[in-house]
Symmetry: C2
């Protein structure tokens, strides 16, 4: 073999294919993001269509329409039978905007914001500085978001898309029979609160977030028939007291902040809880060996792009902070996808 | 299960994980591209290092250095033993710039150009217009490239990175014993010519490209000890006659052009070949069902981003054009990774 002229003898078993697949993986990624942006899966839900019909409805130029749809077929996100395109089971359930199970909000946000901010990842890695709206003296992400109701709602929906599967697991895996009240800190749209309340009819809960989030939270609770059992309390979790509750939940919150801020939030939760009360923290928690949860490690780089000092962390890191804050027992459990929770009992 | 409250009964078997993995797949992609940009794998080749040493040598800020390296561990591109980082077998062979087997040129180009151009894929899909340097009246890619020797060399090296594995296969799979001369059209750095000549000592070849490519081609031939058997002929393959040869090769050329231009190039090849001569076309050729070669379909979208009318195509498409041009027999064969060739005999 001519390969032996330039590579060690084990070269035959080593190929550059995975390097190319991942290195050019933004092609597949952006193709799916564009499909979400164009609401392709919403158009096709329940209405399989041929090329020309899809093209007209979605607004695709003839030049690349077929390549675009067939790339989505090859990626497994569409199916094609006798020239008629339809959604695959996952895109039909999770990317049709008319279904409550829609999780595309995070992908809409990735499409309009994160993709372009990640372009300067190298600069972020060299400087330690965020690469989003706040870069170079711009308005930091959260300030800008909370000042713009439409964008805030999009962001809140994006967060729901990222956490919905885990919220369902939390509703089942925390021993809610032992508790009557909870407070969900940084609740955003309130999907954690909604899923916990839906699955545990004896529980009442509070969603806590900055005041601008109130109408977004209240809409979501109302739409799920939970206006009686879920209420919104406005506040800043670094400044204001936490609302009293048997269980404090922080989902996809701690990774936004640096280690000192993380510890301060855990200490405030400890102070707010009754004896026997529980703190439930969940995030894309990194495995203790920091070698398996790829998505968690990449999410931590996303926190570099998005925040001043945030990062993801291991369950072992989190349990250490919890014990220092005075919690007596801690345990960790996998939720959905890349998410795990750590539960600490006071 | 609470999932039954909002999803059909088969929901348990359907998860959004692959949607999230692909939709946010640009995180993994850009992480690898940044590592290539920083020459991380070149630094580590033969010199495994701990976190602080890598950090200092590569120039990483402390904030996210560990997350960055551990994300590359989780992705399988680095290994870590007792806190010491080293290259994985594939990155050591293919992403160390000091090895002839380096294929990172295409990823360097993706990092500085394609990632940002793909950000406006949706606009490209809606308008059919390229999204690169030529967008909105800018200077088209090839004009700009050929006017800048440094960028032209980077582009040529990128093309070699994308085609090297297939060039080795072509050197083995075309029956070169039947032929004495070849002309490689759009030769760029000339890696196809080099691999064919290395593996087939009786063959002499011509690299044909615009005159600006001459020194780049001649360097590559010289470095491989082939200055005696490979020569460069300057020309524009749409304007000038093809150089006479027993075999005409077009590798990653036809997909740059629209169907009429593709057919014109195939017709010119037919006219230039002797009876019994062969035309060898290779590209990331799409499977005839247009449902399997994901990379080929995405490459075709990359041609939307990069060219006025280019697209990838199936072997069946290509054989049709070849038969129309007068070739008597055609066959297709897989090369490396996503590449296949179509061979036509006059």
């Amino acid at each position: 073999m001519s390969t032996s002229m330039e590579a060690p003898s084990d070269a035959a078993s080593v190929s550059p294919e995975r390097i190319m697949e991942v290195g050019l993986g933004f092609w597949a990624s952006k193709t799916l993001l564009s499909a979400v942006e164009m609401e392709l899966f919403t158009h096709l839900a329940g209405h399989p269509q041929d090329l020309e019909t899809v093209r007209g409805r979605v607004g695709l130029h003839p030049r690349s329409a077929r390549d675009f749809l067939d790339a989505l077929v090859a990626l497994g996100f569409l199916e094609r039978t006798d020239g008629v395109y339809s959604n695959a089971p996952d895109t039909d359930l999770f990317l049709d905007k008319h279904k409550a199970s829609y999780v595309g909000g995070i992908l809409e946000m990735a499409n309009v914001r994160l993709f372009k901010f990640w372009h300067t990842l190298t600069e972020g890695l060299r400087t330690g500085e965020p690469q989003n709206e706040g870069k170079g003296g711009g308005v930091p992400l959260f300030e800008e978001l909370y000042a713009d109701p439409a964008r805030l709602k999009q962001f809140a929906a994006a967060m729901t898309g990222l956490s919905h599967g885990s919220n369902i697991e939390i509703a089942a895996k925390v021993p809610w029979a032992d508790y009557e009240t909870f407070a969900d800190l940084g609740t955003a749209q309130g999907d954690t609160a909604v899923q916990v309340a839906l699955a545990n009819p004896h529980v009442t809960g509070i969603g806590f977030d900055l005041p601008e989030m109130a109408p977004i939270f209240e809409d979501h609770a109302e739409q799920n028939g939970l206006a009686q059992r879920l209420s919104f309390v406005p506040g800043d979790f670094f400044i204001d007291e936490f609302p009293p509750a048997d269980v404090v939940v922080m989902g996809h919150i701690l990774h936004d902040w640096n280690v000192e801020e993380k510890r301060a939030l855990i200490e405030k939760a400890h102070a707010a809880l009754p004896a026997g009360g529980a703190l439930v923290v969940y995030d894309t928690i990194i495995d203790d060996d920091r070698s398996q949860n790829t998505f968690g490690l990449l999410m931590s780089l996303n926190m570099l792009i998005e925040t001043e000092g945030g990062s993801d962390y291991t369950a072992s890191d989190c349990m250490g902070w919890m014990r220092s804050a005075g919690f007596t027992s801690t345990r960790t459990e996998h939720l959905a996808g890349p998410d795990s929770m750590v539960v600490a009992i006071k």
